[in-house]
């Protein structure tokens, strides 16, 4: 990125997505969400609200769960990102997908990618979450279909170690 004044021109932004190096030409204030979906055709990440309330756009950016609708692409320069499409490569994450399927964690499916990313982030930090930890970990992801109960079950089921009672 040029250090001095830019015109409202596009710039080159490089980052890694799902293990692959990518380079895009975008306006610096393009939302990361839009770059992922429209430039990189990774349409698994969804827009539900555009205000950082619903979590449907959640991805992992440098290991942190973030709402990609609130990240200007320029700030993702040099970052390493994981979207729902990147998940099959990970053990833990596949077991989350299987658990979601088994427990009914996905109904209409639109919140599901963000919800699974949030669950990945939670389980990476807390491998044996109690129900309260799961509720808190998913508090930024709204689901209108399930009423959450079967999502909690799915996350619990996928957790590597069962929480101490």
């Amino acid at each position: 990125m040029n250090p001095s004044k830019e015109t409202a021109a596009k710039c080159e932004v490089s980052f890694t997505v799902n293990g692959e190096k990518k380079k895009v030409l975008a306006h610096p204030m393009e939302r990361l969400l839009d770059v992922l979906r429209n430039e990189l055709k990774l349409t698994g990440t969804k827009e539900g609200c555009g205000e950082g309330e619903c979590g449907s756009c959640s991805i992992l950016l440098d290991g942190m769960l973030v709402n990609s609708c609130l990240v200007p692409v320029a700030q993702a320069s040099g970052a390493s990102m994981i979207t729902i499409e990147g998940i099959p490569a990970h053990d833990l994450l596949k077991s989350l997908q299987e658990a979601f399927l088994e427990c009914g964690g996905a109904q209409c499916g639109i919140c599901t990618p963000g919800m699974i990313l949030a669950a990945v982030h939670l389980l990476e930090k807390t491998p044996d979450p109690a129900l309260a930890d799961i509720r808190e970990g998913l508090a930024g992801n709204l689901c209108r279909c399930t009423g959450y109960m079967q999502i909690f079950e799915a996350v619990s089921k996928a957790a590597p170690r069962r929480a101490a009672k």
Binding site: A8, P28, M29, G52, P72, G140
Partner: protein, 292 residues
């Protein structure tokens, strides 16, 4: 998404010096953006009036938390997650760590910053009452140098902060002298997470020989700025906590605050709940004191 990205500039000098140099050569032209959890919401709604943004997310000096013997200094671009995970912050400044855990969900905590919360200056901001009771000091920086001031003087009015056109918030310092205090925080919002507060309390208290030696109360969402309740503190200091005092304090709270009706709640409700939160704190302080 109601903004046209081609209408906006976002520059990324990459160093503090570079940022300050630009703010100095073009004061009031550049809006700093850290985690973007406030700026990007406005932007997305088509309501961001400033079209020139300067990236401060990637400035390492702004992201450090330094622990000194008598104080702790928190870089303005420290995220809520960083605050929650920092040992000294969570142990000695629980009101701040708790406020950080209230701000949005995990994804927003990973990006939202303390400096952003201060600069955005919403009267409903969760962290600001904690800063008031902890006697925070704020350091501002520009190409001209550093400037420190008591945080309590930083908010002049609704969304009016004492930041010069070429200045950036550099850090917040908190004196390490509150470990012996009883602390209590409570936020009232429309739901348990991801909610802008209707009323928010940060409170510290210390008793000696059954009387209140030092009490600090600050509320959010009840005035154009986060409010320290000096009157109510005066009524309480030096007194024994009993029913009549608690009652008097509750009434004083209602007199001291200036809540409004808005899209989230009503003035009457806020006033009543503010009083209730303070009386609840005092009851807990009394119970804690009697156990000591």
């Amino acid at each position: 998404m109601r903004a046209d990205p081609s209408d906006y500039k976002l520059v990324s000098p990459g160093t503090l010096k570079g940022v300050l140099s630009l703010l100095s050569s073009e004061p009031s032209q550049w809006l700093p953006i850290a985690g973007g959890t406030d700026v990007m919401v406005l932007y997305s709604a088509g309501k961001l009036l400033n079209h020139n943004l300067i990236n401060i997310w990637n400035i390492p000096e702004l992201r450090q938390i330094e622990v000194f013997p008598d104080s702790i200094r928190i870089g303005a671009a420290c995220t809520y997650t960083a605050l929650r995970e920092h040992g000294t912050v969570s142990k000695e400044f629980p009101l701040l760590a708790t406020a950080a855990s209230w701000t949005g969900g995990i994804a927003n905590q990973n990006r939202g910053t303390l400096g952003g919360n201060i600069a955005n200056a919403s009267p409903a901001a969760d962290s600001l009452p904690a800063l008031l009771v902890y006697d925070a000091e704020i350091t501002l920086i520009s190409a001209r140098g550093e400037r420190r001031m008591a945080y309590r003087n930083f908010h002049a009015g609704y969304k009016k902060i004492a930041l010069a056109p070429d200045e950036l918030i550099q850090s917040i310092s908190l004196p390490r002298r509150f470990s012996g205090f009883f602390s209590h925080a409570r936020k009232v919002g429309a739901r348990n997470a991801q909610a802008i507060s209707k009323v928010c309390l940060a409170a510290l208290g210390q008793c000696a020989s059954g009387a209140i030696r030092d009490v600090r109360l600050a509320l959010g969402s009840v005035a154009p700025v986060p409010l320290r309740l000096h009157e109510t503190e005066r009524v309480l200091t030096g007194q024994k906590i009993e029913a009549s005092l608690i009652d008097a304090a509750g009434k004083c709270v209602v007199k001291e605050i200036r809540p409004i009706d808005d899209i989230r709640s009503t003035a009457r409700y806020r006033a009543a709940v503010a009083g209730n939160l303070v009386t609840e704190f005092l009851e807990k302080l009394a119970a804690a004191g009697s156990r000591a």
